[in-house]
C-alpha cells in the first residue's frame, strides 16, 4: 500500500487559558504501527484530532505528503480517525444504529471494505440493527475498531480502542490489527493506557507528556536504554555517576535507582557489585512521566 508521510510541525493548541500542545513536532512514517502513550490530559486526543483535521489548531502545520491536510479532501481520503462512540448525542440518547455508522463510513472512506466490516461485525457479535445507546462500553469500542479496520485507510488512527474491551477481546483486537497489518502494511497510530500488553505490537512508541513529545523511537531501542540498579548505597551511587537518574527508592542502606544510559555505561555497571534489572515499557513510561505522582 502506498502511504505517505504525515507530519506535524510546531503545533500549538490552547483551550481557554490552558495550553495543551506546546510547539510540537511529529513525523509518522508509512508502514509502521505506532503506539501513542501519555497520561490523562497529556493531549493525546487533541493531537490526534488536529493531525486528522477534525480539530482546529492555534499554530503550526500538519501535512500529508507535503500537502496541508486542512480541508484537503485528497489527503483526508487517505486518513481514518475512528473516534470513540458516544451513547449520548447533544442532550439525548444516540438513537443511530450501527448500520448507519457503517453506511456513512462507506461514503467517507474510499477504500471501505464492506466484506471485511461484515466479518468483523460477526466476529464481535454485533447486530447492525442495534442502536448506539443500547451498546455496552466494550461494544462501542468494537464499532470504532470495525470502522477503523474496514476503512482500509493508508493511515488509520485509533484513540483508546482497547479501553472498553475485556482482556480476551483486547488480545483478539491486537491479533486482528497485526493480521491486517501483515496483509496491507498500512500505517496505524494507536493510543492506549494499557501499555504493557500492547508494547510488543508497537514497532515505534510515541510518548506524549504535558503537550510535548518526549520520545518517538523504536520501542525496544527505547526500553533497552533503561535499567533498575540496586544494592548498597555507596556502590549504587558510584555506578550511577554519569547516568541519568529518573527515580530513587531507599530502604536503610539499600538503594534502588532507575537510570537511563547508553549501552556502554550500563555495561560498566555489570562489573560492580550491584543488581541490574531491565525495565518494561510501562516502567519506562512511569519513570519518564510520573513527575513524582507515583511512589
Amino acid at each position: 500500500m502506498s502511504t505517505g508521510i504525515l507530519k506535524a510541525q510546531g503545533l500549538c493548541k490552547s483551550y481557554k487559558n490552558k495550553q495543551v500542545l506546546h510547539n510540537l513536532d511529529l513525523t509518522i512514517e508509512p508502514g509502521k504501527i505506532y503506539g501513542l502513550i501519555g497520561r490523562n490530559g497529556a493531549g493525546k486526543t487533541t493531537l490526534l484530532g488536529i493531525l486528522t483535521a477534525q480539530n482546529t489548531k492555534d499554530g503550526g502545520q500538519v501535512t500529508y505528503n507535503g500537502q496541508d491536510v486542512w480541508e484537503n479532501q485528497q489527503a483526508l481520503n487517505d486518513i481514518c480517525f475512528s473516534r470513540e462512540m458516544q451513547s449520548t448525542m447533544f442532550y439525548g440518547r444516540n438513537n443511530l444504529k450501527i448500520k448507519h455508522y457503517l453506511k456513512s463510513a462507506a461514503i467517507y472512506y474510499p477504500n471501505w471494505d464492506k466484506d471485511y466490516a461484515q466479518r468483523l461485525l460477526e466476529e464481535f457479535k454485533l447486530e447492525p440493527q442495534k442502536k448506539i445507546y443500547q451498546l455496552s462500553k466494550g461494544q462501542l469500542s468494537m464499532v470504532t475498531i470495525t470502522i477503523a479496520l474496514a476503512s482500509r485507510s493508508p493511515i488509520t488512527i485509533l484513540d483508546e480502542p482497547a479501553a472498553g474491551l475485556d482482556v480476551v477481546m483486547r488480545e483478539r483486537f491486537y491479533q486482528l490489527l497485526l493480521e491486517d497489518f501483515a496483509q496491507t502494511n498500512r500505517t496505524f497510530l494507536v493510543s492506549t493506557h494499557i501499555i504493557e500488553e500492547a508494547a510488543s505490537v508497537f514497532e515505534q512508541v510515541i510518548i506524549l507528556d504535558e503537550g510535548r513529545i518526549l520520545e518517538n523511537c523504536p520501542t525496544e531501542e527505547l526500553v533497552d536504554q533503561f535499567r533498575y540498579i540496586s544494592g548498597r548505597e555507596d556502590e549504587v551511587d558510584r555506578v550511577c555517576a554519569g547516568l541519568e537518574i529518573l527515580s530513587v527508592h531507599q530502604m536503610g542502606r539499600h538503594k534502588t535507582v532507575a537510570v537511563r544510559g547508553s549501552g556502554v555505561k550500563l555495561e560498566d555497571a555489570r562489573k560492580a557489585d550491584v543488581d541490574i534489572a531491565p525495565m518494561n515499557l510501562q516502567n519506562v513510561f512511569v519513570a519518564l512521566c510520573s513527575h513524582g505522582d507515583a511512589q
Binding site: E171, L178, S200, E203, T219, E220, P278
Partner: protein, 126 residues
C-alpha cells in the same frame, strides 16, 4: 515453536533464543524451513518488524539463511553453531557470576572447584 514471551529481555532476543532452542531440540532440522516473520508475529502477537529483527540476528550468526521468494531455512551445521554460541554465553552468563558469587562468600578457588566437582559427581552422568 513453543514457549511464551514472558521474561524481561527484549522480545527479538527471545524470538531468536526460542528458534535456537527449537533447532537444538530438533524441532527444526538442518535445511528445513522455519516460521515466517508474519507467522511469528501472528503466533506471539508481536510486531512483524520485531520478529524480523530476531530472525536477522540468526542470519547474521549463520544459523538461518534466506531462500529468495521462499523463506528462511536452517543452515548446515546450525546445531553446532548454536552450541558454540551458547558456550560463549555460558561463560559470561554462568561461570563469571559463579566465580563472583563465590568471591563474595570468601570461597577460595580450590573450594569453588571442589564444589563444582562435587556437583558433577552428584549430578546426572555426562
Amino acid at each position: 515453536m513453543h514457549g511464551t514471551l514472558n521474561d524481561q529481555s527484549l522480545i527479538y532476543l527471545q524470538i531468536a533464543k526460542m528458534l535456537e532452542d527449537d533447532i537444538l531440540r530438533g524441532v527444526y532440522q538442518e535445511e528445513e524451513q522455519v516460521p515466517s516473520t508474519n507467522e511469528l508475529a501472528r503466533g506471539y502477537n508481536i510486531n512483524p518488524a520485531t520478529a524480523a529483527k530476531g530472525i536477522n540476528l540468526l542470519v547474521a550468526d549463520g544459523i538461518l539463511y534466506k531462500k529468495r521468494g521462499i523463506g528462511m531455512f536452517v543452515s548446515q551445521g546450525a546445531g553446532e553453531a548454536v552450541k558454540q554460541k551458547r558456550k560463549a554465553a555460558f561463560y559470561d552468563g554462568y561461570v563469571k557470576p559463579l566465580v563472583k558469587e563465590g568471591a563474595s562468600l570468601n570461597l577460595s578457588g580450590e573450594e569453588l572447584l571442589a564444589m563444582v566437582h562435587r556437583a558433577i559427581e552428584e549430578g546426572e552422568p555426562l
